[in-house]
Structures are given as C-alpha cells and as structure tokens.
C-alpha cells in the first residue's frame, strides 16, 4: 500500500496544484530543463514526443496559471507561440518535484496521484 503521507508536503501541494496530467508533467519538466524554448503547440509536442492537438489544452491551462506566456502571430498558418515565464518559487518547486521523482517511493505516490486525476477527467 502506498502511504501518501510519505510524500514531501511541499511536493504534494505542487502536484495537487499543477500536475493534472502526464502531459502537464512532461511539459513542466521540458520547459524547466529548456527554459528559453519558444514554440508552437506542434513544435513543443514534437520535442516531448506527443501530438500537437493533445497538448494544446494543457498549454492553455499552464498559460492561465501564469507558468507560460502565449502570443498570437497573424498571417499564414497563424498560431499561438508559447514561452516559459515561471515565478522563482515555481522553479524551486519544480526542482523539489524532480528530486522527489528520483526516489522510487515518492515517484510511485506522484504517479498514483496523477493517475487518479486522469481517471476523474
């Protein structure tokens, strides 16, 4: 049995607040590791090995939460361009999240939490 109490409370809060899916998980880690990425949904999707149409709602949600910025470019093939604009505290939380992922027990708890959210969707 997983004991959810064993997860660092700060990491637990971070997961509850931000990691609502495995795609969001991938996106946050990708932008954290490649912080000055500037991309369209399709180019970002390629970078994390997903489909552009699948990641678009999650990019929008991260933008609403102030983690990403989004600009629209007019013209042929107009599309949204996303960039990473996190607060310093958010970045610190991502570092803690990454650290927790290296611990097998913590990782299992996080995966379990995300699976529960995915199931509810």
């Amino acid at each position: 049995m997983l004991d959810f109490e064993n997860l660092d409370p700060q990491v637990s809060l971070f997961v509850d607040e931000y990691i609502d899916s495995f795609i969001t998980w991938d996106l946050i880690l990708f932008f954290h590791e490649n912080p000055y990425t500037v991309g369209s949904p399709s180019s970002i999707a390629m970078s994390i090995g997903r489909l552009g149409s699948d990641i678009e709602p999650f990019l929008e949600r991260l933008t609403e939460k102030g983690i990403l910025s989004c600009e629209f470019r007019a013209g042929n093939g107009a599309e949204a361009i996303y960039a990473y604009k996190p607060e310093a505290d958010f970045e610190k939380s991502v570092v803690e999240f990454k650290r927790a992922l290296k611990d097998r027990a913590s990782r299992l708890i996080i995966v379990s939490k995300v699976l529960q959210k995915e199931a509810r969707r």
Partner: protein, 263 residues
C-alpha cells in the same frame, strides 16, 4: 593573451577568443557580420559556436544569444560543460539566453517587430549570436529559390542589431566531396570556416581552415583542431602532408624520402 574588452582593440574585429583561430582570422570576425562554420556531423561546429559565445561573456563582457533548432538546451549545457563552459551559470547571470525553437517559429519572430528575438536581444544587450543550425531552415521549404530568400531574410534579421553572428551548416559528406554553397549561404555570409575529418595513420583527426574572409587577409593553411576539456585548440598546420582536403592525405615527397632513409 586575449583578456581585454573587444572594444579596446581593433574596433572592426570581434575576437572569437578561441585559441589559434583569431590569428588565422587576422584578429577575429568582422564586426556586425556573419560567419558560417561548415562541417560534417561531429567535426566540432557546435563546440566552436558555444565557445565563441562563452568567451564573449567571460573574456570580453559581451552577452550572447544561442538559437538552437536541433539540440535541446539541456544537451548544449552538458556539451559545453565538457569543454569547460557553464552555460547555465551565464544564463543565471543574465549574460546568455539559449532559445530552443523551430526555424519556422524563429523566422516569424525575427520578422515580427517587437517579437521574442527583438526583446531577448534588448533584455540582455546581446552582442554575439550563435545559430545551430542553418541546415534546419530546409525544413521550411525544399524550393531552392525560396530557401535562399528565407536565408537572406533570416541573416539580415540577425544583422539589424549591433551583433556579430556565427551560424553552422552541415556538410553531407564525412570526407572527400566538399560543397561550397548550399542554398547560397556561402555567398551571403562574410566568413566561412570549414571543418574536415582527416584520416592519418588509421586515426581520424579534425582539420580547420578559413575558406573565405571577406575583404580581409587571413591564414590560408589547413590546421589541426583539437576539442579539449578547456575548449577548442587550433594547432599548427599539417606539416609534411598533402591532399588533406581529400580526407586521405599522403606524405610529401620530401618527408617520404626522409622516412625511407631512416628505415
């Protein structure tokens, strides 16, 4: 030694700071110009570009911008560390930005007044730009005329600012055949630095030479290039050998006779 502000020296030159290269270039790259580094995969194009940016920051107090279309920034950070430069640290100090994007997005941004490129240059007062690699622009179009126009727009967009840029272009051939002007890039840029693999005594070595340096005298020799834990080291010319550009050089007659004499 090169440890002085670039502006204190020859104002028409931007020293790369790379050991041995500035001497070949007559002091450095031309100010507000574009140099292309051409070579097959693994010859050291990205290492030269990263060191150009890193030396700009550490030796000349010139902030830099890296635009990467191929490698993830985390891979560049790792590779730069291996040759002695901590790019993440420079980013924390606001002396560097490593933008990861696609050629299509970047082309649009460079054309957009007040776009992300304009803002980034202003934010860190970038003086040096490194683009890796121009070969990726071929993802936008296969039409050679359109591709040339795109390259021209792209490079002129870079030159809107008071910056000096290095870009890379990949050669298709590991040794032997050598092309000059994919999509006309070689005609548009001011400097061409060519990297080659050379096979000598059953080992692969790297060679560097300056193919073009507009309106400038430069070293015409083909030099041995090493990638070390403290950066690029452009060494002496391949003495006593001919046919370096073929990738399979042979001993000059004089050296061959000398070798036979000592046998």
């Amino acid at each position: 030694m090169v440890n002085k502000s670039a502006s204190e020296g020859d104002k028409t030159r931007v020293p790369t700071g790379i050991k041995g290269l500035d001497d070949m270039l007559g002091g450095g790259l031309l100010c507000n110009s574009i140099a292309v580094i051409k070579g097959a995969p693994g010859t050291g194009k990205s290492c030269i570009g990263m060191e150009y940016i890193a030396r700009g920051i550490t030796a000349y107090n010139e902030p830099g911008l890296i635009i990467t279309f191929e490698e993830f920034p985390r891979q560049l950070y790792r590779d730069a560390l291996a040759i002695g430069f901590d790019l993440r640290e420079y980013e924390k100090e606001n002396k560097l930005r490593t933008i990861f994007t696609t050629p299509a997005v970047f082309l649009r941004e460079i054309q957009q007044p007040g776009g992300i490129f304009d803002r980034t240059i202003e934010e860190i007062s970038a003086k040096r730009v490194f683009v890796d690699s121009m070969t990726q622009l071929e993802r936008i179009t296969q039409d050679p005329v359109q591709l040339r126009e795109i390259m021209y727009t792209f490079l002129n967009g870079l030159l809107r600012y008071d910056i000096t840029a290095m870009v890379t272009q990949e050669d298709a051939f590991i040794t032997g055949n050598m092309s000059v002007a994919e999509a006309g890039l070689s005609y548009i840029v001011d400097t061409i630095i060519q990297l080659r693999y050379v096979e000598i005594s059953s080992t692969i070595q790297r060679a560097l030479f300056i193919l073009k340096h507009r309106a400038s005298d430069h070293d015409k020799s083909i030099k041995r290039m090493l990638i070390t834990a403290s950066g690029i080291d452009v060494q002496t010319a391949f003495e006593g050998r001919e046919g370096i550009l073929s990738g399979n050089p042979y001993l000059t007659k004089r050296l061959k006779k000398a070798e036979e004499f000592f046998k």
